[in-house]
């Protein structure tokens, strides 16, 4: 067999580099995706950071937005997890504190994390939480029961088309992914 000409080798090398680049690009999609979601406030990616109000934020009394709260338990997590109010009416710019009841029914101590999701997606980045139990993992003793706070407002910059927003939390058992941090219970009302 004839030796492989140089031109073949050069082009092959170039293409192999391209293939390796695309493999790495696949992994680059991960931070890229996180970044886009964070910018848009979608898929719970702003869960770990508190939103801040623009200085001099005014309450817009001309508008009322209905906020509905829903909860889901992931897989077969044994927990009671409910909003104390099903829904509230709120003016853009107005701050509200609401509570979710959580009760550990798993019969053992457990660490959970709530992941929020806000619909419609176009309103997601305007619902801002200054304090939320979803910012950190939450540690529960056996049979522990608590009211969990969310302190939030709707940014008045939200589109006038938005009349209703749903804030949904899914509670995950994060036993396999426990972060090394102090058991964070700020704002929690133990029952």
């Amino acid at each position: 067999m004839k030796p492989i000409p140089k031109s073949h080798k050069r082009l092959t090398l170039l293409l192999v580099c391209g293939v390796i680049f695309m493999f790495c690009f696949c992994y680059m999609l991960v931070p890229l995706y996180q970044w886009v979601c964070k910018q848009e406030g979608i898929n719970g990616k702003s869960a770990n950071s508190a939103g801040s109000a623009a200085p001099g934020m005014q309450i817009d009394y001309s508008r009322t937005i209905k906020i509905t709260f829903t909860t889901t338990l992931h897989h077969d997590l044994k927990f009671k997890f409910l909003p104390l109010q099903q829904h509230i009416d709120i003016h853009p710019g107005e701050r509200k504190l609401i509570y979710f009841l959580a009760e550990n029914q798993s019969g053992k101590e457990i660490t959970v994390q709530a992941v929020p999701s806000i619909t419609p997606a176009d309103a997601a980045r305007f619902l801002k939480k200054t304090e939320c139990f979803c910012f950190t993992q939450q540690y529960f003793l056996k049979n522990e029961k608590a009211d969990m706070p969310v302190y939030f407002f709707i940014d008045p910059a939200v589109s006038r088309d938005i009349k209703e927003v749903t804030l949904s939390y899914t509670l995950f058992d994060v036993g396999e992914f426990i972060k090394k941090q102090k058991h964070f219970t700020q704002g929690r009302i133990d029952l």
Partner: protein
């Protein structure tokens, strides 16, 4: 073109002294592009019957509501394996087989640029599919999460056999990447000196574009399944929300590969059709340059539309609008292609041999599939159609009467050149009509089932869908069993006794370098570069 570029076999050649090895070793160790092309084509043909049998099992289960034959778990495994094998084991290897056989002949090269690599890229495939299919015989279920293997179905909830699936995808990906690499190097470096870029047959052009698509997205698929593997075994959480990941990310990564993949499946077929229609219309292809540009534009646009597979995942409205318009934009270059084929047919001296019948069948039915594609591209209507049988109907129209028809048309078209034997025209036409009727009886009713609300991927359905499902099943059996005619035709042309000598040109209107060679094509060709007019 044919007069000027006459190929003459060297009368002093002693092919018998350095011909291929005999028996099984010939096929195992071959570096000859024709042998490897043949291997690819036979492999894909066998896989077609395997995955086709799975499809028939699925159709039997759907003959009546309730359980007919399969447990729901087994039904899921059948749909999954059917999809995976048809995409990665039938269409892609068949296209690679055509590429191996034809690209060197069409550009006047003696072989592929990297012949040993070529051998390897084929021989990875049987092992990949042996591994995938072996999961059916293991205790515990085979992959059962659909061919799109969405997380968390394939990560948190995936059966143990998912790891076999992951590694078989790695092998298939490596095989496709190596084949694509070889094709690009061949087309860039091995063209006959007088074969200018704008003289390349469209089949070569479309394979060049396809090869670049493969090089760009198969590594992404490999990365995607590697992330799955890490989530399953190495405690990462790319796709697990409990650990800070996101299952939706899987869909983005997958469809970033998946949408270019659908063009990988169809673009070489466009090339085949662009060869066949001018031959049987006895006219040069209308708008050659635009065909080349349209192919490239389709490939580029293919990278920026992936989210139209995910309209109902809660994307912001701006993203939905962008992806809807970008998707509809692809109808423009595709429309250019369809209109150019129609313009080639216009006022041509048509004859309707089997390859032309399949090409015309493709033209009509692929366009239908394109239109249902436009329907699912529209955000508001997609909310209704998504995950229904309408989607199943759409992608079978573009993959069966699209990709598969082009492959069958291509095999009929070049079979006399490969084997030196004319296939049986009467049987070929019977095959065409049974296939076309079977295909439409199978998939046309699925549009209506989907519009009426029948969800896909579920082994049971509501009573009112029974009639149409029974029609589908009958059609599927007609379609499936008529492929046995194809098998017979190919075996007869390949191994049957040669009755008469087929001319070099084979078809009256055929142009291009491959038709200047004797039929059957000698084992070694174009050792000296031919002159292209």
């Amino acid at each position: 073109m044919t007069d000027a570029a006459v190929y003459t076999q060297d009368p002093d050649s002693h092919e018998e002294h350095h011909g291929p090895e005999h028996g099984f070793k010939r096929w195992l160790f071959t570096t000859n592009h024709k042998d490897i092309g043949t291997l690819y084509l036979f492999f894909s043909f066998i896989m077609m019957f395997v995955a086709g049998a799975m499809a028939l099992l699925v159709r039997v289960e759907l003959f009546e509501p309730g359980k007919v034959l399969l447990n729901p778990e087994y039904f899921n495994q059948m749909t999954t394996m059917h999809g995976l094998i048809m995409v990665f084991g039938v269409i892609m290897p068949a296209m690679a087989g055509l590429a191996n056989w034809l690209i060197p002949l069409m550009i006047g090269a003696p072989d592929m640029a990297l012949p040993r690599l070529n051998n390897w890229s084929f021989w990875l495939l049987p092992f990949a599919f042996a591994m995938l299919i072996s999961t059916l015989f293991m205790s515990g279920p085979a992959p059962d999460f659909g061919w799109t293997f969405y997380a968390p179905l394939s990560t948190t909830y995936g059966p143990k056999s998912t790891d076999f699936f992951i590694f078989s995808i790695h092998l298939m990906g490596a095989s496709s990447i190596l084949a694509a690499l070889n094709i690009v190097v061949t087309i860039f470096n091995m063209r006959a000196p007088s074969m200018a870029w704008m003289k390349l047959p469209l089949f070569v052009w479309s394979w060049l574009v396809t090869a670049f698509l493969l090089l760009a997205v198969m590594p992404v698929l490999a990365g995607c399944v590697t992330m799955m593997l890490m989530d399953r075994h190495f405690h990462t959480s790319f796709f697990n929300a409990a650990g800070g990941g996101d299952p939706l990310l899987f869909q983005h990564v997958f469809w970033f590969f998946g949408h270019p993949e659908v063009y990988i499946l169809i673009l070489p077929g466009f090339g085949v059709i662009s060869a066949i229609i001018p031959t049987f219309a006895r006219k040069p292809l209308f708008g050659y340059r635009f065909m080349v540009y349209a192919t490239a534009v389709i490939a580029i646009l293919g990278f920026v539309v992936w989210m139209h597979h995910m309209f109902t995942t809660g994307a912001p409205i701006a993203a939905q609008l962008y992806f809807m318009y970008a998707t509809m934009l692809i109808a423009v270059p595709t429309g250019i292609k369809v209109f150019n084929w129609v313009a080639t047919i216009f006022k041509g001296s048509l004859t309707f041999e089997t390859p032309m019948l399949f090409a015309l069948g493709f033209l009509v039915m692929f366009t239908l599939g394109g239109f249902s594609g436009l329907m699912v591209a529209l955000v508001p209507s997609d909310y209704q159609y998504r995950d229904s049988y309408f989607v199943v109907a759409h992608f079978h129209y573009v993959l069966v009467s699209g990709s598969l028809f082009t492959i069958i048309a291509g095999v009929y078209y070049w079979l006399p050149k490969w084997t030196g034997q004319m296939y049986n025209e009467r049987l070929g036409q019977l095959h065409f009509w049974l296939t076309t009727i079977g295909m439409n009886v199978t998939f046309l009713p699925m549009h209506f089932l989907g519009l009426a609300g029948m969800p896909r991927r579920i082994p049971d359905y509501a009573l009112q869908f029974t009639d149409f499902n029974q029609i589908c099943t009958v059609g599927a059996f007609i379609f499936g069993f008529s492929q046995l005619i194809f098998l017979y035709i190919i075996l007869k042309a390949s191994f049957g006794k040669r009755t008469y000598q087929v001319s070099n040109q084979v078809w009256e209107g055929a142009t291009g370098l491959e038709w200047t060679l004797p039929s059957p094509v000698p084992y070694h060709t174009f050792e000296t570069a031919p002159v292209v007019p």
